[in-house]
């Protein structure tokens, strides 16, 4: 019995060595996610990007990922572990991974690191981000066209620049169609709590909004819209299956093309550190098919999308701040630095930004 066991163990060891040896020829690419890949939102989309890369590059690469890695000291360990396990390029997908990645990148100069939504770069650490606000501008226009009450509801998580940017872009889009458009905002203090999101959606509908949008991750709000026969927008993923009659479009993150591009660069040795903010024109921000709206609204949305893809920035003056003072002069375009630190509303938003 003992002999058999030993024999089995040796075989197993030999087998596992064989696997590693074979794997050495491939490029090992690794991902670190802040949430579960089953969130059907932010981390899910990054994982879809990973799968896309796997499909595109086939047996040239092998991938691995760690999910549910909390921001902070735990992240240090996660990145270091992946680095030691032979990953040649590591993608960290949350803002809070920034300092851990800077630290680990210094320790492993031969390994490439890519950080989503951050701003610190080095020789072997690049950053990438997506201009989600571009999609939100289009959604704002659609909302203003489609709303009968002239009021939309907006469910939000935390007052960080990314979220404020989305609200402002949505409002500017809506105002370009209907200058008197109203936006009701509810903070739920959570990225992810389907129950709370559903409650917030009900509250907003009860108070006269007839279109809902959200900067939280679940499909709950959209499902409420479906139940009530009203309209709404998806977030992060295409949520049409959850709301076939309610979803107008969804602001979808599409990281696949970027991952493929960067992995190819590593494969042919041209990888260099970068700092990119991708938008609709790069295919990183996608609006899922415009549905449940008349043709003229669809045409308008398509036109705006094209205009943005051609390089027009939704944050182009004249734009006024909430307090009435002018932010952007006629024709002036907001610079990326201001946008990435955005902490005020534009005129017309009926809410006080929590500080």
């Amino acid at each position: 019995m003992k002999k058999l066991l030993i024999a089995m163990m040796t075989t197993a060891a030999a087998l596992s060595m064989a696997v590693t040896a074979e794997a050495a020829d491939k490029l090992k690419a690794c991902w670190v996610y802040v949430g579960p890949i089953g969130d059907f939102g932010y981390s899910y989309q990054h994982d879809q990007g990973r799968l896309h890369a796997e499909k595109e590059l086939g047996d040239k690469i092998e991938t691995a990922y760690l999910e549910n890695v909390s921001e902070g000291p735990d992240a240090d360990r996660a990145f270091e572990r992946l680095a030691r396990e032979g990953c040649k390029i590591i993608f960290g997908t949350s803002f809070g991974f920034m300092d851990p990645m800077v630290k680990v990148a210094k320790k492993f100069p031969d390994i490439k690191f890519e950080h989503a939504t951050g701003y610190k770069t080095s020789e072997n650490l690049g950053v990438y981000n997506a201009r989600f606000y571009e999609g939100r501008y289009v959604m704002g226009q659609i909302a203003a066209k489609m709303s009968k009450t002239g009021v939309a509801g907006y469910i939000v998580s935390f007052p960080i620049p990314e979220v404020v940017m989305g609200i402002d872009a949505f409002m500017l889009g809506a105002q370009s169609v209907n200058p008197d458009f109203k936006l009701k905002i509810v903070w739920v203090n959570s990225w992810f709590d389907p129950g709370k999101e559903a409650d917030a959606a009900k509250a907003l509908f009860d108070q006269g909004a007839d279109i809902i949008t959200q900067h939280t991750d679940s499909t709950a709000a959209l499902q409420v819209a479906e139940e009530r026969g009203l309209k709404g927008f998806g977030q992060s993923s295409d949520m049409i299956k959850f709301a076939p009659n309610a979803q107008l479009t969804s602001n979808t993150d599409n990281w696949g093309p970027y991952y493929v591009e960067r992995l190819k660069a590593v494969l042919d040795g041209t990888w260099k550190t970068d700092n990119v903010w991708l938008g609709i024109k790069d295919g990183a921000v996608e609006l899922s098919p415009f549905t449940n709206m008349p043709d003229d609204v669809k045409a308008m949305a398509e036109a705006t999308k094209k205009k943005i893809a051609d390089g027009w920035n939704p944050f182009t003056g004249p734009v006024f701040k909430q307090d009435g003072s002018q932010w952007l002069k006629d024709g002036e375009v907001a610079d990326d630095g201001t946008l990435l630190g955005l902490n005020f509303y534009v005129k017309g938003v009926d809410d006080k930004l929590p500080q």
Binding site: P36, G38, Y44, F192, P194, D206, S218, A220, P354
Partner: protein, 306 residues
């Protein structure tokens, strides 16, 4: 008027999972067992309910599955703490961690699929009554079950002999044992009942509240249910009141925000826990109150001498 009714309906949906999970845990704690695994059992119920509902297309089967999954999962806790006399706090916590991880694994294939929704029970004619019509006769099935559960548990604990026995076990398992009461058997049944309730609460989440499956969708409701039991000082009717107070505060602040009244929503999110701390302080100041309601042997392992 319409808006008031809608607000009340929203509150009922938000309060029901808290209420169901808490009433189950109340029975468990009344028997002298502290099961901190509510969150884990709830999320297992949610994934089980969603899965079966989705695969069979029947939300009713889903609901039954949620209850069964919760009960079976709690059995693990019962075997560990009751038969093997492990530490209840540690075992309960690991049950929660296990449930959160396991449900995520089981549910991988269910992510991004639209679920089935348990239909509201519309009682004909009565639902057309003004005001009370929709509130009393047009809710989802779990709402009615939750109210029935409160009645049943209150009656069982304080009006039946078995209930009295259960409470006496919670107060002193050694005395109960000396009287020839089968402590372990009672506790097994109590823990399984608690598990079934937590599973039902989970099923409500994935079949009524938000018909979908996503990881961690219980989002801490199991912990609020645990807090609620203490908040209610182990009295069934106070659980009902507490669940609806917590629900009302939460929904109220959402409406206040939508109305444009600035409210510190972070503070209100922590309210259930704050309220529980306050209640704990109040009841621990009054010796007699503590003696009357707190199960005295709560959390202590029981090993009968053989």
């Amino acid at each position: 008027m319409e808006i008031t009714i809608n607000i009340l309906l929203t509150i009922a949906t938000a309060a029901t999972p808290l209420l169901v999970a808490a009433i189950g845990e109340l029975v468990v704690e009344r028997s002298g067992v502290l099961n901190l695994g509510v969150e884990g059992m709830m999320i297992m119920g949610a994934v089980g309910g969603f899965g079966v509902g989705y695969l069979t297309g029947s939300p009713w089967l889903g609901l039954v599955a949620a209850i069964v999954v919760g009960a079976v999962f709690s059995l693990l806790f019962a075997v560990m703490t009751l038969s093997l006399a492990t530490n209840q706090v540690a075992t309960g916590l690991s049950l929660t961690l296990l449930g959160l991880g396991l449900s995520g694994m089981i549910g991988t294939g269910f992510v991004g699929l639209p679920g089935v929704r348990l239909p509201d029970l519309h009682i004909p004619l009565l639902i057309d009554l003004p005001i009370v019509g929709k509130l009393v006769f047009g809710q989802d099935p779990v709402f009615y079950i939750s109210i029935l559960l409160i009645f049943a548990v209150a009656w069982f604990l304080f009006r039946t002999r078995t209930g009295l026995t259960l409470r006496s076990i919670g107060d002193s398992h050694t005395s109960a044992h000396a009287l020839g009461i089968q402590v372990i058997r009672y506790r097994y049944l109590a823990v399984i009942f608690g598990g079934a309730c937590a599973g039902l609460a989970g099923g409500q989440l994935s079949l009524v509240y938000t018909p979908q499956w996503v990881e961690n969708m219980s989002a801490g409701r199991g912990w609020i249910a645990l807090a609620l039991v203490v908040f209610a000082s182990w009295r069934p009717w106070r659980v009902l009141a507490g669940a609806y107070i917590f629900g009302a505060v939460w929904i109220g602040q959402l409406h206040a925000q939508a109305f444009g009244i600035p409210v510190p929503s972070q503070l209100l999110s922590s309210l259930p826990y704050l309220a529980t701390v306050v209640v704990l302080v109040l009841i621990s100041r009054n010796k007699r109150l503590t003696m009357m309601n707190t199960p005295a042997s709560l959390g202590q392992p029981f090993v009968p001498d053989r």
